[in-house]
Symmetry: D2
Subunit: 232 residues, 4 copies
């Protein structure tokens, strides 16, 4: 594991962008899996500047690693997020976008193997220790890509925002361990204690992201606040 501590959100985003561009400039098909949410917003802003209208990055293919379908909508929350934040403003061609969906999730691991695997994955960390859709209480470490149906008993169930019986799909811990380079970005003091647990505490399904300690090529980029609980 390599931990990079940056002074602030901007520097964290700059470094994450550089790592991704580093992969994207290799002379081969490059398969990237990238995260939605708030943490990467500035990463994508910076990437759009580099990639927009450029023929230089036609070799890069994009995958999402989890998806929450929305009734009555053609596409789910994650890929919609990625389109809005990055894929559309960067002008990524549709044939380079490979959405994970509730329909195709069971073939996701085989599909990825058939294109040579994922070169890099950008992920965030939940305050509750989740990564991708691997949530406390519904994660088993020996899972490939899988589907979760929400029962309402989960610690993270929010009645106003979720419905019992809804479901989502996510790449599992085994799938994520196959990625050649894992880039975890975390910012903000409210996640500092979870960063400490995830990076230095016991490896346990109760703290799903703790499994990432076992990845052979994990780069963690933190701002100072997220790093505050780590030993110096």
């Amino acid at each position: 594991m390599k931990i990079i501590i940056e002074s602030d959100f901007g520097s964290m985003s700059e470094t994450a962008k550089n790592i991704l561009l580093g992969h994207m400039t290799e002379a081969k098909r490059v398969n990237l899996s990238i995260t939605g949410g708030n943490t990467p917003v500035k990463v994508y802003e910076k990437m759009v500047t580099a990639v927009k209208d450029s023929p230089n990055y036609d070799n890069v293919h994009y995958y999402n690693f989890d998806e929450i379908p929305v009734e009555g909508q053609k596409e789910g929350i994650t890929i919609s997020d990625l389109r809005r934040l990055y894929l559309t403003p960067a002008g990524i061609s549709e044939e380079n976008i490979h959405p994970l969906t509730p329909e195709n999730y069971a073939e996701q691991d085989v599909s990825l193997e058939a294109v040579g695997g994922l070169d890099a994955m950008l992920i965030g960390l939940g305050k509750d220790g989740h990564f991708c859709g691997n949530m406390p209480g519904t994660t088993a470490f020996n899972k490939l890509t899988y589907k979760v149906t929400v029962t309402g008993e989960e610690s993270w169930f929010v009645p106003e925002m979720m419905e019992k019986g809804m479901s989502f799909v996510t790449m599992g811990p085994v799938s994520v361990m196959r990625v050649k380079h894992l880039i975890l970005i975390v910012n903000g003091s409210e996640k500092a204690e979870m960063v400490r647990r995830v990076l230095t505490g016991p490896v346990s399904e109760d703290v799903p992201a703790s499994i990432l300690q076992l990845h052979p090529n994990l780069t963690v980029i933190l701002d100072k606040e997220a790093a505050a609980a780590l030993d110096k």
Copy 2:
């Protein structure tokens, strides 16, 4: 994970030997970590035939992944075993042998990184689910190479064979996950149930080898008997 089921001990050993020779013939420095014990006996017999007195394999360096020191003996049980079974009959030059010892274990992970990491590791499986020296009750998944001091309370403590206060060193789960190709060999019906648990059951520190399910490049070679409890 790739599971290869062979008809018997001989075929299992033949296939394991082929995989190792496959690595050893690459045009680069090749770093191998290999196991002692009874399971690989025939693998080494076959390898000796191929390697003995051959200048073809000077590029291969050997590491042991655990060690039990013996009082009054210059070298421990594992490396002595490896010398007897393989290194000496194969005529491996001393400068290609890199013993792990109680004295140097704390530098093992850094030393391995400095030579480009381990290309392959051959391991066996204990009936109690251990791999390398990662034993039930003394294994934490987030360990690099570490030292265990025996208390006598361990489930695997055998008073006739062990002494309280004795200690051994082993590469930990994090170290093993860094190996580029992991080859697990298991034979015999008495390990069949543990093979099933390790390869298909929950990932738990109580069954240390269950973590191997998460390795991105694990080849398991079983004889029919060891594979008997797996679903067909």
Copy 3:
């Protein structure tokens, strides 16, 4: 470059088989490109024994690297050769066989990139220094997969066997340099002098295989006779 000198044709074939099986046992999709001709006959005999009727090698995909179409025949000389020597007796499933043809050659490099590239390629050496279909007089080192139309002026033109205007396709030097592991097998005293030129002489398009000296992971397996002109 790593040179392995074996005592005879049988040992050369055994070692080549081991290297290929080493790749085939990795826990991923494995893309192999293999050669027709006489040199690999015993390699394939041995591989058939290991692979036949085995579900263990479903992850391996096969490619030919050159092809000579035959009028009135559905398939060309190389793939027909490979079917007879290996693919059919080994019971390889049709969906794991990817013939290169005069129709699809222009897409070959892109197709290979889309599946993660070739993991290994087994090649032979011509007495005239050719490799794959890269012949003296028609080879440019900067070629991807390409088509050659025979003029009758070539040094290797044999009027009884060839017709002016016939054509063949072959992966070019650039394509071959992209293969992760290159395995060159050569036997027999009549190729000894060419082995010396190819492995130690100047790099020149007149001796197409001389370019292989620049491959970062080339394993050469020779019998004693083919190695006779090399310095000891």
Copy 4:
């Protein structure tokens, strides 16, 4: 080969810096070989900003790929250049700096293999088609690291600047082909024609850099002017 065309020298430098930082952030020992000269000046300015006083990049080791000794000076021109432009202002620790010298050049390829090889190399292009110290008239494609003694007959001999009998050392074409990722940066219209020849012309020792067309992972970063002679 992947060609990236940037609008100007600044953007070219920015992209090159990103690629290098991408490598440097991997969770492993990273071995970089970097170039002196004028082309990378801005790359290093930008890298100094990211790396200076940062504990984040202790895993990166630096190598130079050629060296011209200077009489009466402890260190040669290239490493002195690199110290001035990057290593000193970035505060790189002496133990991470591995100078190539006329004294150690014969062991350079073995030394690099022993640390796992070079992960990336940043190189420039000479107007005469040279790369590293591989000059027209003194380059053989089948060379590892070697020494050149200047005769005064070379096309690039400049009497005011060089002396007959002086010598320099350089990694050769075979050494450079072993680098996992090659990054070639070129700017300015005066090199545009040579860029065209090197990237699209015949592969010939008269234009040493033409061999780079055969590298399996070459990224070329050009400003618009250097790209002007390439077909659109």
